[in-house]
């Protein structure tokens, strides 16, 4: 039971931080921390005041392989969870909407495609992952995303032709900075994770041969991440997402 006397609460918080509680008592404190702000403050007090005793130990050399392992593990987790679930739940949408208003043509195109996609998804819910041999032509309008993860309106256009040729067209001028590059990825199989379509050349426009794209379907995720100049060294996105969006089946007429 969590005590109510301040002194007892300080002792309990201190024992918790010292690691002296048995697992049941520690679990009880952890459960209480979510709703008991006073106890959380007392725990934070000990964590902060005792920290110098840890800091006084100095540092230990870390094996460079350690980060590679962590990165691999994170990539696997993101695949399992799906990349978009890592976003905070309450994403401010007004920024995206206002940016789109400044771009009326794109706004209309996005809205029309989004509506079409919504209808398509409603009619054909089992076609979200379409088979690789799909004959449909697709678009993906990628939304730009700033360093804080907020979307800033349409920033990139991906077009997939009938025969599988992929065209990448930036809608604004994007400089990755020296020693960095932009890398295009697509995800159609959560179990496999994002697959690289290649590092984009300066300017970002590129036309990829049909064999580069193994699969394409409605809702297929495309994203562009910031990577080292030679591209991600681990075959998975490592930098932040600059542009992200999903493929949507287009009308049969030419652009």
């Amino acid at each position: 039971m969590i005590p109510s006397e301040p002194e007892d609460r300080d002792v309990l918080a201190g024992e918790y931080v010292l690691g002296l509680l048995d697992s049941d008592a520690a679990a009880e404190v952890e459960r209480a921390l979510g709703s008991d702000a006073d106890l959380a403050r007392r725990v934070a007090f000990w964590e902060e005041r005792l920290l110098p005793a840890s800091a006084a130990l100095g540092t230990t050399a870390v094996d460079s392989e350690q980060w590679v392992r962590i990165e691999r593990d994170l990539a696997t987790r993101r695949q399992v969870l799906g990349r978009t679930t890592a976003l905070p739940p309450a994403r401010p949408r007004h920024a995206m909407v206002s940016a789109a208003w400044r771009n009326p043509a794109l706004w209309r195109a996005t809205t029309a495609l989004a509506t079409a996609a919504a209808i398509l998804l409603a009619i054909l819910p089992n076609r979200v992952s379409a088979p690789a041999e799909s004959q449909t032509r697709y678009f993906a309008i990628l939304q730009s995303r700033d360093a804080t993860g907020q979307e800033g309106g349409p920033g990139w256009l991906i077009q997939i032709a009938q025969n599988g040729t992929v065209r990448s067209l930036p809608l604004s001028d994007v400089q990755p900075g020296s020693g960095r590059s932009l890398q295009l990825w697509t995800l159609w199989d959560q179990a496999r994770g994002p697959v690289s379509l290649g590092v984009l050349p300066p300017g970002g426009a590129i036309r990829l041969p049909p064999e580069r794209l193994e699969a394409i379907g409605d809702g297929q995720l495309f994203e562009i991440t910031l990577e080292p100049a030679a591209g991600s060294p681990i075959g998975r996105p490592t930098g932040r997402i600059l542009f992200i969006g999903r493929a949507q089946g287009a009308a049969t007429q030419a652009l």
Binding site: E47, L50, L51, A53, S54, L57, T59, V62, G239
Partner: protein
Amino acid sequence: MEPFDHASALEGCARGDVAALRRLYDHEAGFLLAVALRIVRRRELAADVLHDAVIDIWERAGTFDRSRGVGRAWITSIVRHRALKHVRAAGRETDLDPAAGAEIADDAPDPFAALAASQDGVRLHGCLALLDPDRRRVILLAYVDGLSQSEIADRLGTPLGTVKAWVRRSLIALKDCLS
């Protein structure tokens, strides 16, 4: 040490920014590994603890609130809890056997002496100095070495009930001094 903005890095992690995690890792991995190693005493285990803790930090960063705590204390606490879970689950008796060769036994710095020399440790050092040496040791064996109360009782050759009473009184005295 140049100031590092732990809170901003954690907020970046909460947004799914791997680069923010990398910055935090580059800055703190060596320190966090030292914390873990002191508790689990084997490099291989300490590396596992650091790995799991970094994943924890990434996944729980959304619960970090800069208005309620200091980022460095928050991440250190995650590493300590991971390390403690490891040693409590494994049952550490064999690891503490001197013959089993705890890897850090010989060159482990005395945290009380190290505190006196560290810039931000002066206050904690001063408050710990007010405690009887045995009671001070109890606090540091628990916090720095991650020993349980019964392990501390064995180590000091003191009855468990006495250790528990020392912990309580020491915490009350420290709270008063550190507030």
